[in-house]
Amino acid sequence: MLETQGSLDLSGDPRRLRHERTVRRVFLSAAVFTILVSVAIVLSLVGEAVAFLQSIASEVEEGLGSLFADGWFPRRDRFDLRTIVWHTLAVSGIAMTVATPLGLGAAIYLSEYAKPGVRRVLKPVLEILAGIPSVVLGYFALRFITPDILRNIWDTTQQSNLMAAGIGVGILIIPLVSSVSEDAMQAVPRSLREASYGLGAKKWHTSLRVVFPAALSGIVAALILGLSRSIGETMVVAIAAGATGGSLLQLSPLNGGQTMTGAMASLAIGSDQVAGGVAAFQSLFFVGLLLFLMTLVLNIGSERLVRRFRQKY
């Protein structure tokens, strides 16, 4: 319309516009690159995982039955998934038993009770803990938790065991659980607390019976995120849970056993394919795919819950 008037052209300098478009395209391609990363992950996992299933179906004696054989011994073509999945759940269960009370307690204290001065001193403690690399916690679990704590309680504890690994992983995820659930409680509006006090409720009642339930979906999201992180944690398990090479299904967490990530780490050590057949190497990708799917489902679930508590307030 403006062009019909002839005098006023607001479309701007075409060179400038072209330049702007190029810049925008550069940034867009960087963002699209992240999708490429996801595609590459999925393709590299699925390709070898399918090859794994094919090669055990055709080359291994028991065929696909070796996925439910006796124990996880990839070098001997025994790929019992129940063993490593059960051990993973055991380690995660122990980790959550450690991290849930400590993480949530810390979160409620920091969000509802701590005075600004106390907060400034104590909050960094969790941040420092969050910055400790997982190899360090693996060493701590192997050289301190097992000999100095577990052996004093149960003297039958093996040198490498699932319990110590679980406690180590639990310590690792305390900061995560605490910071996400603190955010959830901070998002609860002040008016809810004030209404509670107005009705004569005491501090503990307000914190635990009003703010906590109001933030529940966020807190559950924090716990799911912690669970997902604990399932995928590798180094603590690789160092402290033992059973390099393979393990039978262990019902007692005081014994050593291989988890999904532990199995991957120990396959990785021999990933030059010196020992064992092709199937052993490929099983690495099959377990990786399983791990990827498990954490993906948990992360998406947690994301949904977080979005819900954000919408509510």
């Binding site: 992950i41 590299s44 160092i239």
Partner: protein
């Protein structure tokens, strides 16, 4: 009704009951008890941290006393009394350099697109969800990506190296690992820049890119800087993906004397400090208990120095801006 009873003054008992109900004379046990329990659960984390640091330092003491600096400056050796971690420190530093070169520009650019350019389209929503999910993928899965794509496909397949298990492959793997986190921290930094700044810039006729370059990025840079360094610190301590992306897992290895740094990065075997910690921690000889603790102390000191340095640098950056 109650007031009438008091007003009549006939029943002192009722009066007393009412006052007590209003003033709350009951001794409150639950309140401090709950507060104490919560405080204890927070202090437990502090206690764990103190015990962990104390334990590691105490276990490493004999090594520092007997070996001094040689445990840092020596190459790896099959003999525990001569071994050292300099190759691991070199490897970790070079890995971090590769990660900075690859993931910083990519991550910042992607974040700029998402925060400054993207409208709420289907593509944008997919991009955001995808980055969230990438940030939650377990680190060892990135190792599988590194093994298939960087080690096998690119270095051994396309470039034609005999073994793709080189530092550059490890660096690329770690870059992919931190990319999503880099994007998310940069997005947060950009989001904290006030909208009014952008509007003022558009108001005087600036283009989007001019606005970003001259107004948004300078304000966001201290936060981007801090976020990136913290992310890099995470990469520095990361080891699971390197197990797969080819870091050397033996108690010793050596590159030929006088190998130039470029071929150390591009074509030689490599290791990293956290990998040395993992490797030493599973050696059966008892000497390695103290050696591992010494390597951990070295790693934690490096991380501490980097983090403290970042905070100081950020403060300096912010002070310069205010002036």
């Amino acid at each position: 009704m109650a007031t009438r009873t008091i007003g009549s003054g006939s029943t002192a008992v009722t009066q007393d009951m009412l006052r007590r109900a209003l003033e709350g004379r009951k001794v409150n046990v639950i309140n401090p008890l709950v507060a104490l329990t919560l405080l204890i659960s927070l202090l437990a984390s502090l206690a764990i941290l103190v015990v962990l640091l104390w334990d590691v330092v105490a276990k490493s003491m004999p090594v520092w006393q007997e070996r001094g600096w040689s445990v840092i400056t020596n190459d790896l050796s099959p003999r525990p009394e001569e071994t050292g971690m300099v190759q691991g420190i070199f490897g970790s530093v070079m890995l971090t350099v590769v990660v900075v070169i690859l993931s910083f520009p990519l991550g910042v650019a992607a974040a700029i697109y998402l925060e400054e350019y993207a409208r709420d389209t289907r593509l944008t929503r997919i991009l955001v969800a995808n980055i969230r999910n990438l940030a939650g993928v377990p680190s060892i899965v990135y190792g599988l990506l590194g093994l298939t794509v960087f080690v096998k496909l690119i270095l051994e397949g396309m470039v034609g190296q005999l073994s793709g298990r080189t530092l550059i492959a490890g660096g690329m793997t770690l870059s992919m690992l931190v990319l999503a986190i880099m994007v998310i921290t940069t997005q947060e930094a950009l989001r904290a820049v006030p909208m009014a700044l952008r509007e003022a810039s558009y108001g005087v006729g600036a283009t989007p890119w001019q606005t970003i370059r001259h107004h948004v990025l300078p304000v966001a840079s201290p936060a981007i800087f801090t976020g990136s360094v913290l992310t890099l610190a995470r990469a520095f301590g990361e080891s699971a993906p390197l197990l797969l992306a080819g870091a050397v897992l033996s108690t010793f290895f050596a590159a030929p004397e006088g190998t130039p740094i470029t071929s150390l990065v591009m074509s030689e075997k490599y290791t990293a400090l956290p990998i040395i910690i993992y490797n030493w921690s599973r050696q059966p000889q008892t000497e390695y208990i103290a050696l591992t603790a010494a390597a951990i102390v070295a790693l934690l000191v490096i991380l501490l120095v980097v983090n403290a340095g970042t905070i100081l640098a950020r403060d300096a950056l912010e002070r310069r801006r205010i002036r």
